[in-house]
């Protein structure tokens, strides 16, 4: 798995150490782990487990737009199989997890990383078009 951290440019190590860029409270692996667990839950049709990994606003949006419980509504969102995270880009409390079949965005909360958006397709210079977002 390729993990791209903001401080990965070795030549600038001094400056990077000074500002502590990218040194969140959790290791980058934590965000990719959450992303993989989310897609595993979707693949296993375990809506409750998937919803437990959603950011509060995203959770609310799923229930609001479907007028149904998140655990059932999320399984109708046509979220593709994610697979293993091949690239994680984390800056501060935000992260983007790229998998073979999908791209997800995550944010760090008090109780760990949560999925903010999933089932995202790139739109060039524009923001990703995400079926699931807060």
């Amino acid at each position: 798995m390729l993990v791209m951290r903001p401080w990965a440019v070795g030549a600038l190590a001094g400056a990077f150490v000074l500002v502590g860029v990218g040194c969140g409270s959790d290791l980058p692996a934590a965000a990719s782990n959450v992303a993989e667990r989310f897609y595993q839950a979707i693949g296993a049709r375990n809506g409750a487990a998937a919803c437990a990994l959603l950011a509060p606003q995203t959770f609310h949006e799923v229930e609001e737009s479907a007028q149904a419980q998140c655990a059932t509504a999320i399984l109708d969102e046509n979220i593709p199989a994610g697979g293993e995270v091949t690239e994680l880009r984390q800056y501060g409390g935000q992260a983007q997890a790229r998998m073979r079949d999908d791209t997800a965005f995550l944010a760090e909360f008090d109780d760990g990383w949560k999925v903010v958006a999933a089932a995202c397709t790139p739109q060039g210079q524009l923001p990703y078009d995400c079926k699931l977002k807060g």
Binding site: A15, V21, G92, Q94, E108
Partner: protein, 227 residues
């Protein structure tokens, strides 16, 4: 008088500015934390602690972009006033005195006094280095702060990109971006304005007792005279 009081009396300018700096930096940290958390709440994201904020790229870029511009300002002022003059300004040398000046006037090498710094007395490369040490250190601090600004700004910019569900940029991409140059230039223009207006206003205006001003009764034409 105690040693501490004697020290403070003899170094009051440095001590007061050191305290003002720390007070302002702490104030900036609290105000910055409040602003950051306001945005986090508005975006439906988690708020951060004081400790997390002051070690974040968001705080670092705000600090570094101001530091680099201040050091650039003084670097340019120190170096450009060797070669450029402003008639009537106490900040300027007299017209005709531009340049590095003679060893005698600069008290280096054979003209050094017994109390001159050792590297001013020895001559050769040591004296050459020491003769440019102020500008060199200011320049090095400027470049270091600008580098920190670029790295911290890059991280902050990419954090915002991810919040907007957009791809992050490379460091080189960020250094060529509008955000990096907007942050740099908005600080530089204010520093250049302040230095330029100080050089010109001090031709005509006075601050009695200040070494940055001419004596109150000095003529507007007198240059390089400090009160």
């Amino acid at each position: 008088m105690t040693r501490v009081r004697r020290f403070v009396r003899s170094n009051s300018l440095g001590v007061v500015f050191g305290c003002l700096f720390l007070a302002a930096l702490v104030g900036q940290a609290f105000a910055g934390l409040a602003e950051f958390n306001n945005h986090q709440v508005a975006d439906g994201l988690a708020t951060v602690t004081f400790g997390r904020y002051v070690t974040s790229a968001d705080f670092a870029v705000d600090v570094a972009e101001n530091w680099q511009s201040e050091y650039l300002q003084f670097l340019l002022y120190i170096v450009l006033t060797v070669w450029l003059v402003q008639r009537g300004s106490p900040e300027s040398k007299k017209p005709g005195e531009q340049g590095r000046e003679s060893d005698e006037k600069q008290k280096v090498g054979a003209y050094a006094g017994p109390d001159s710094p050792r590297w001013a007395r020895t001559g050769g490369w040591r004296t050459r280095i020491y003769s440019s040490s102020l500008g060199a250190v200011m320049g090095a601090v400027f470049l270091a702060c600008w580098l920190v600004q670029s790295v911290a700004g890059w991280s902050t910019f990419n954090e915002e990109q991810l919040k907007q569900l957009q791809d992050p940029q490379s460091w080189l991409g960020y250094v060529g971006s509008a955000d990096f140059w907007n942050r740099s230039l908005q600080n530089w223009q204010s520093e250049f304005l302040a230095v330029g207006s100080m050089a010109v206003l001090s031709i005509y205006l006075r601050e009695r007792g200040s070494p940055e001003s001419k004596p109150v009764g000095s003529s507007h034409d007198s240059t390089g005279v400090e009160g």
